[in-house]
């Protein structure tokens, strides 16, 4: 394959070769919103939850509670072009404009629901909207300002809030093996308190057998998604990033029926296996460059990736924070809270052995070094977000060390997850053309240094 040849179009319909198995997973999420709203109309409570890396999701589901995820809903607002009135409402109620786009969307949604619509769902809310919360489940995991925006929702709702705890990753100190039990002990205490609170709030007992069953299902889902991710290292990359983003909520939030989700992911695994066997690409153009997207996407402009696919850019990996790691062996533990604590904690601490190997202090850097090697990346698409500290703060160091250690260049594109006004696709496309020469150059440099891609 020539690096500079104009790519021949192999499919006139779409630039990205979408996985058929992605659509049922996307439907699981959409159906979940519809079912939750229906349940609310029948008088059942709705819980608003943040991404909590499963320690909160599974107890709620085991008690049969309906959950919506405002962060995920904010992505729907953005992708359907409906976000702006909600962002404006947040601004008008005095919240600073530089804060999290997910947070501003949710605050704006709550403001419009409670202050403008008398407690009813705003009429322009996609998918029927989110019903009023009976509980706000906050979390500081991976982004510690998030619990503050749920705390702020007390301006609009009288629902109680619970803030879940998690020891923070990114420290050698925290990853010392002797500290694991101490961290788990802390989480188990917190989880037991949380479950006792749920029982009091919703006046029903925890179904411990159900919780065990859901933990088993969670492990199976993550084993399956982990296998899919491993397969994506193939050349050409069999699954484009947009398929991952469209299909991730049943793995990331356990949205919808988990048995259905597991079956869908197993179908996805089969389809990806088949693609690898047949060397079928995730784009309908010859794969000229293998890109990694860091970190959160511009939800409002996902069609933009079609343009890049037409140039032969295949996004083979993306958004490490949305990927569940290989699940730990939980078979030797009997207490469901301990299983849950270990499953959840595993997300935060699984990267450190490699981090030590590379002598890099930032585990996010090490994660991306490992990914770049495994996926044989030609370049990084860095997407620092005007409204997200957590996903943006390490990108410069990732950029630096990818260049320094692996001679992989980065395209630096400022934007936002929700606010499309700060993203200029035309300008990025112009820069992308020039970036191809940079990727070509460093491909030669890597080979001259003995690297195999």
């Amino acid at each position: 394959m020539s690096e500079t040849a104009t790519p021949a179009k192999t499919d006139q319909k779409r630039a990205i070769n979408r996985l058929k198995s992605m659509y049922p997973l996307r439907n699981v999420v959409q159906q979940d919103y519809i079912d939750t709203l229906k349940a609310s109309n029948e008088g059942k409570p709705t819980v608003w939850s943040m991404l909590n890396y499963w320690e909160g999701d599974l107890p709620l589901k085991a008690m049969g509670l309906n959950i919506v995820y405002p962060e995920n809903y904010a992505t729907l607002l953005a992708s359907s072009g409906a976000a702006e009135p909600f962002l404006d409402a947040s601004d008008s109620d005095g919240f600073p404009t530089h804060m999290c786009g997910y947070g501003r969307s949710t605050i704006g949604y709550s403001y419009r629901m409670m202050k403008e619509n008398g407690g009813k769902i705003p009429p322009d809310a996609p998918l029927g909207g989110m019903a009023k919360p009976a509980l706000l489940l906050g979390s500081g995991i991976i982004c510690d300002a998030r619990f503050k925006w749920f705390q702020s929702l007390a301006r609009y709702f009288d629902a109680p809030e619970w803030c879940l705890e998690m020891p923070m990753m990114a420290t050698y100190e925290g990853s010392e093996p002797e500290l694991e039990d101490y961290q788990v002990k802390f989480l188990v205490k917190e989880l037991k308190d949380f479950i006792a609170f749920l029982e009091k709030l919703f006046k029903q007992k925890m179904d411990w057998a159900k919780l065990e069953e859901l933990i088993d299902l969670a492990v199976k889902i993550h084993e399956t998604t982990y296998k899919i991710t491993e397969l994506r290292q193939a050349i050409p990359g069999p699954m484009h990033a947009t398929d991952f983003w469209s299909s991730m909520p049943p793995s990331l939030f356990f949205a919808g029926d988990m048995k259905v989700a597991l079956k869908c992911y197993q179908d996805m695994l089969s389809e990806v296996q088949e693609r690898v066997k047949n060397k079928e690409s995730g784009i309908n153009y010859p794969e000229r460059y293998r890109l990694i997207f860091a970190e959160l996407p511009p939800w409002h402009s996902l069609k933009f990736f079609d343009k890049l696919a037409e140039m032969g850019w295949n996004f083979v990996f993306e958004s490490f924070g949305y990927h569940a790691p290989k699940p730990p062996d939980l078979s030797k533990y009997s207490d469901p809270c301990e299983k849950l604590a270990r499953l959840s904690r595993n997300f935060m601490f699984n990267v450190f052995p490699e981090a030590k190997a590379d002598n890099i202090q930032n585990p996010i850097v090490e994660t991306y070094l490992k990914i770049a090697r495994g996926f044989k990346a030609d370049g990084f698409f860095m997407h620092p977000l005007i409204s997200c500290r957590a996903a943006s703060c390490s990108l410069r160091t990732v950029q630096h060390w990818e260049q320094e250690k692996l001679d992989i260049p980065s395209l630096w594109v400022e934007g936002d997850i929700i606010d499309k006004r700060v993203f200029n696709p035309q300008e990025v496309l112009a820069r992308a053309e020039a970036f191809e020469q940079t990727m070509d150059h460093y491909r030669k440099v890597r080979k001259s240094k003995g690297l195999d891609w």
Binding site: D93, G94, F95, P96, H98, M99, C100, G103, G138, G140, C143, D144, A145, F147, K148, W149, Q151, S152, A154, R155, F157, D158, A159, P160, E161, C163, E165, P167, M168, A170, T171, Y172, E173, G174, L179, Y182, Q183, F186, K189, E190, D193, K200, L201, I360, Q361, N362, P384, L385, I386, S387, R389, A390, S392, C393, S394, L395, R396, T397, H400, E414
Partner: protein
């Protein structure tokens, strides 16, 4: 050995102008200097080990240049400034740097320090839980214990109960003296300007605790003896928000015709209002730092386990210390200031303003990027705000 030739406020002005000078002297004399970021590393342990805690600040007058290779521009400029100064070698007098997970960017600052700042080879990062739940306090005590063990390795000796007790008493004494100094601003006009006060506070973070206490005693004596002429200004203000370590904002406010008589910032009352309570052990430190410091970075669960939340009750539980300060210092307006991209403070702004409204206290919110030049556009807003106050 103290080499100062000046005393009291002159001494504070001197230390404020060159924070590293005394540290370099002490290091030359064999002392280990341990820098720390934000309020959450328990400095009593550093003092008890015979080392000197030094609060790391940025520099609002120094353009951020070197940090751009390490840090994106959409994160806290105060912490970016620290990284910038570190890369430029401005902390070459430190033997160690201790950070805490006070916020995500605070955490990545110390991580970046390890990769990019060659001074201060000893580093430690303390995980700080998000909540003040009882299991979180226990967990934090474990983190402090881990820090203690690490710094014992650096010192080559164990921390004794007696040394910890003495250090807690010394730092508690400093806190008591600071509260006494703040009391001197209750009069109208206050006996101490906010600029002078900030210079003293910054000095306390730049001196060994014994020298800081000596300085405070001198300043309090001098200020008490001052003969302040009547000359009331239009407003008595409180300033709220995250770190502000430079007198420029206070100069701007006071030049607009107001006295800043009290603050709720981590370079002022937030750092000094809570004591470590006896018995002086690691649990007492965990309680003081995680529960008693009132920083928005902690989810203070005022209605923990309650099945309904009451907004006004929650606000009163979280902010009644501000209500008390407003009454005690006769405050008639509050300026909420924040460095840009500080999310934990940002989410508090509408809620705190609502609370102040219920108290009948006018407020404004101003934002800056931790540079002196970013304050100029704020001046007009501050002047207009002061004009509106009775």
């Amino acid at each position: 050995m103290v080499t100062a030739t000046t005393k009291g406020l002159s001494r504070a002005h001197e230390v404020y102008a060159d924070r590293g000078r005394r540290m370099r002297e002490l290091r030359k004399a064999g002392k280990k200097i341990i820098g720390y970021i934000c309020l959450y590393p328990p400095i009593e342990i550093i003092t008890a080990m015979g080392m000197v805690p030094f609060r790391i600040f940025g520099d609002m007058s120094e353009p951020i240049t070197a940090a751009d290779q390490v840090s994106t521009t959409v994160v806290c400029p105060f912490l970016r400034s620290i990284i910038d100064l570190g890369i430029k070698g401005k902390f070459d007098f430190l033997d160690g740097a201790v950070g805490a997970h006070t916020c995500d960017i605070g955490m990545t600052t110390i991580i970046a320090w390890r990769d990019y700042i060659k001074d201060a080879p000893f580093t430690h990062l303390i995980d700080v839980p998000h909540t003040d739940h009882a299991p979180a306090v226990d967990y934090f005590e474990g983190q402090i214990n881990f820090f203690k063990k690490h710094i014992e390795e650096l010192a080559g000796e164990k921390l004794s109960e007696d040394k910890l007790k003495k250090a807690c008493e010394l730092h508690n004494k400093q806190r008591k003296l600071v509260r006494e100094l703040y009391d001197l601003r209750k009069s109208d006009p206050p006996k101490l300007t906010s600029m002078e006060n900030l210079e003293v506070m910054v000095s306390l973070f730049s001196l060994p605790v014994e020298e800081g206490n000596e300085l405070l005693e001198e300043v309090i004596k001098d200020v008490k003896e001052r003969n302040i002429k009547p000359g009331k200004k239009k407003a008595r203000l409180m300033v709220w928000g995250p770190v502000f370590d430079n007198t420029s904002l206070y100069e701007l406010i006071e030049s607009a015709g107001a006295d800043v008589v009290v603050d709720d910032t981590c370079v002022g009352t937030r750092a000094f209002w809570a004591d470590v309570k006896a018995p002086y052990n690691l649990h007492a430190l965990a309680q003081r730092y995680l529960v008693d410091i009132k920083c928005p970075r902690t989810y203070r669960d005022t209605q923990h386990q309650e099945t309904e939340r009451n907004y006004d009750k929650d606000l009163d539980s979280r902010f009644n210390y501000i209500k008390k300060a407003v009454a005690d210092w006769h405050v008639n307006g509050v300026i909420l200031q924040s460095v840009k991209y500080c999310d934990t403070h940002g989410y508090e702004v509408p809620n705190l303003r609502h609370y102040l409204d219920t108290l009948g206290i006018p407020s404004i919110y101003i934002e800056h990027d931790y540079s002196e030049r970013s304050l100029a556009p704020i001046k007009t807003r501050v002047e207009a705000f002061v004009e509106t106050l009775d």
